[in-house]
């Protein structure tokens, strides 16, 4: 019994309906099937339906942390809802051994008019604490949320970050056997997020099983042992965290490029030509040549260039005003050349963006996102995680090693 996995998902499928009207009517029919004992077993789709999950199987052992990655709509949240028993599968079987809690910002159970203190009591009850447990944990929850001063103020006077902190503080104090974490720690500040992850690590050390959903491969890398990669409701790959995250990051870079290629502006000016290498090595220099075709002479033009990482974060932004470069844009083609002596980016796919404005940064004439696409090559494992490929030189003294051992 103790050897059995905490969560076993076996050939699970779930169908959902895209059309609201139909969905309601199917709801009535499903209720009928449930009452008559026929159940929800389904091997086909009705009109307007799609497989939110299709033939998904995996298991999570005790003390293991499993990551779920995949694009929006890949079925990650649906899967968590099924494991949590909130909705029923259309096929397959889910076995859950132990109590399950979802770690979510329970703004859900909160009433804005009530004080933080009152809301902690409600949220605890909703998450299954007994009255006694709530009393015992109350001080710890308040301390964790760092809201001691505001605990008797109505939650509607809190900032959204404070409310989220209060919600997590309650949630991380539940002691389930299986913890489901859905993308939650994205809200709130970094430091508080770290605190939550620390709690999650403690929970795991005590033998709890974790299923963690995140868009951020770094979160998955640092918190999970194994990963399930979902794509359009199906398991694309399952396996070791490094292998899957590497593959997923490459894929994310590849796919996000076309969607990022967006052009805005008033049509005064456009990029008629770009020369930009498709591939460089980590840390190598980079030359880019851009030809801007303009309909007229621009008055005090400003050019802004930037790099964006696959996950969408800006890596670096530079502009001609801050860099104190005098430029002019005349009618016709205008050639600009840029040279980056070094581009110490981690391996991955990055996009190059160009924006042109007149007089003020806000008078945008052109914004061409993803006009260039650069794949940075290198040894993935060499430079840790993040955006920059820094290669720190470590110097460890014998004394501090002894200290750490103690």
């Amino acid at each position: 019994m103790s050897g059995a996995p905490a969560v076993e998902v076996s050939r699970v499928s779930k169908r959902y309906c895209r059309s609201l009207k139909r969905s309601l009517w199917y709801g009535v029919r499903d209720i009928g099937n449930e009452i008559s004992g026929r159940g929800q077993q389904a091997d086909h789709l009705r009109p307007s339906e799609f497989w939110a999950l299709e033939d998904v199987s995996f298991a999570v052992e005790r003390g293991e942390s499993l990551g779920l990655v995949g694009h929006n709509g890949a079925g990650k949240t649906t899967l968590l809802k099924l494991i949590n028993g909130l909705v029923k599968p259309s096929a397959g079987m889910i076995t859950v051994r132990g109590s399950v809690r979802a770690l979510i910002a329970l703004g859900a159970g909160f009433n804005p008019v009530l004080t933080g203190r009152e809301n902690i009591r409600v949220a605890s009850a909703v998450l299954g604490f007994s009255e006694q447990e709530t009393r015992d944990q109350f001080d710890a929850i308040v301390a964790f949320s760092e809201l001691e001063e505001f605990i008797d103020a109505p939650v509607q006077t809190y900032s959204s970050g404070m409310a989220a902190r209060l919600g997590f503080a309650v949630a991380v104090h539940t002691r389930p056997d299986i913890l489901l974490v859905d993308e939650v720690l994205a809200v709130g500040d970094l430091r508080f997020g770290m605190k939550c992850f620390q709690k999650i690590a403690e929970f795991r050390a005590e033998g709890g099983a974790i299923i963690l959903v995140s868009h951020n491969p770094y979160t998955i890398r640092t918190n999970c042992d194994r990963v399930v990669w979902l794509e359009h409701g199906k398991v694309r790959e399952i396996g070791d965290v490094t292998d899957i995250c590497d593959a997923y990051e490459v894929e994310m870079g590849r796919e996000s490029t076309p969607s990022l290629q967006q052009r805005y502006g008033d049509g005064t000016i456009h990029v008629s030509e770009i020369e930009c290498p498709a591939e460089i090595a980590t840390g190598a220099g980079l030359s880019i040549r851009v030809v801007l075709e303009s309909d007229r002479k621009l008055d005090r033009p400003i050019i802004q260039v930037s790099f964006t990482a696959a996950a969408g974060q800006h890596v670096a932004i530079n502009d001609t005003v801050t860099d104190q470069v005098d430029i002019a844009i005349e009618r016709g083609p205008n050639v600009f050349e840029l040279y980056y002596p070094t581009l110490p980016l981690r391996p991955g796919v990055y996009t190059f963006n160009v924006a042109v404005s007149e007089q003020l940064m806000t008078n945008l004439r052109l914004m061409d996102l993803g006009v260039g696409r650069i794949e940075v090559r290198g040894d993935r494992d060499e430079h840790g995680a993040g955006v920059l490929a820094l290669a720190p030189i470590w110097h460890v003294e014998a004394a501090s090693r002894n200290e750490a051992a103690r």
Binding site: V28, V96, S130
Partner: protein, 287 residues
């Protein structure tokens, strides 16, 4: 967590309907009752304190609707627009009694659906015994009823209505009103959670239904209305209420027991149905 590893609860989710294993279904439902009860209490406290915190008059607002309807009818009666023979009970007391118990029924009827829609956010995110919502609804209905009942007793005493010592037993018909309303509301809730028509429909039939029930006038002796009121399941409840409070009219014991007993039997089924369909409703709820 590490202590009870040997007897970890095992849950299996399949497409199969739990109704195929009715014993397990009942055992699970009963097993979660304790948790549901304490959660219901918390939710009720939350809703009651939140509801009136932003008001100046607070709980007095509970009384206003019933008082307004009563005043309208007392005025009509006083101006002889309508003539209603309420016997030894002053008409104002008679009407207020009817309206308060009618509201008790209505609040109970609407409570399951209101609870479902008011707690959507929680339902789609957290797994908890869903009957907690039903119980929380009952606690809230009972709370507002107690305030109204206090008003009724004050008014009755002030207008020297013939209050009986049996008035303390009025909790029995009150419980029957709540049970009847909540059970009916629970049976309608699954459909009502999907289609807004149910809520609209309830709104539309409430008024006519009130006139077919001995709320603001006693049941007539003859005519179509007499037949309708005879078969109206709420009639015996109103009859018992007024008998216990003021000793007027007669009690149709068999009618009352039939309605109350029937309600309790259906309640068991309604409860299981509610648990059964909850995952199907959650699937179609947006947060």
């Amino acid at each position: 967590m590490a202590t009870a590893r040997a007897e970890l609860p095992v849950r299996v989710y399949t497409p199969e309907s739990p109704i195929r294993h009715p014993l397990t279904l009942v055992r699970q439902a009963i097993g979660e009752l304790k948790v549901a009860r304490s959660l219901a209490w918390r939710l009720a406290v939350r809703d009651i304190s939140a509801q009136y915190r932003q008001t100046f008059l607070g709980y007095l607002w509970t009384l206003l609707p019933a008082v307004m309807i009563t005043l309208v009818w007392v005025t009509l009666e006083h101006a002889a627009v309508v003539h209603i023979d309420s016997g030894t009970v002053p008409y104002a007391v008679f009407a207020l009694t009817g309206v308060i118990f009618w509201t008790l029924f209505l609040d109970s009827l609407n409570s399951p659906l209101n609870q479902l829609s008011g707690n959507r956010n929680m339902l789609v995110r957290v797994q908890f015994p869903p009957e907690a919502l039903l119980f929380s609804g009952v606690i809230q209905v009972a709370f507002s009823f107690v305030i109204k009942l206090a008003l009724l007793l004050v008014v009755a005493a002030a207008l020297s209505a013939p209050l009986q010592w049996t008035a303390v037993l009025v909790v029995i018909p009150a419980a029957a009103f709540v049970a009847f309303g909540v059970v009916l509301g629970t049976l309608l809730a699954p459909l009502g959670a999907l289609y807004k028509d149910i809520q609209q429909g309830l709104l539309a039939i409430v008024m006519p239904l009130m006139f077919l029930t001995p709320v603001i006038y006693p049941p007539p002796e003859t005519g179509v209305a007499a037949t309708v009121m005879h078969y109206n399941p709420l009639s015996p409840l109103f009859a018992l209420t007024r008998y216990l409070l003021y000793g007027t009219g007669s009690i149709a014991w068999e009618g009352f027991l039939l309605v109350f007993g029937g309600t309790l039997v259906v309640a068991a089924f309604g409860w299981l149905l509610f648990r059964l369909v909850m995952p199907l409703l959650i699937e179609r709820m947006d947060a």
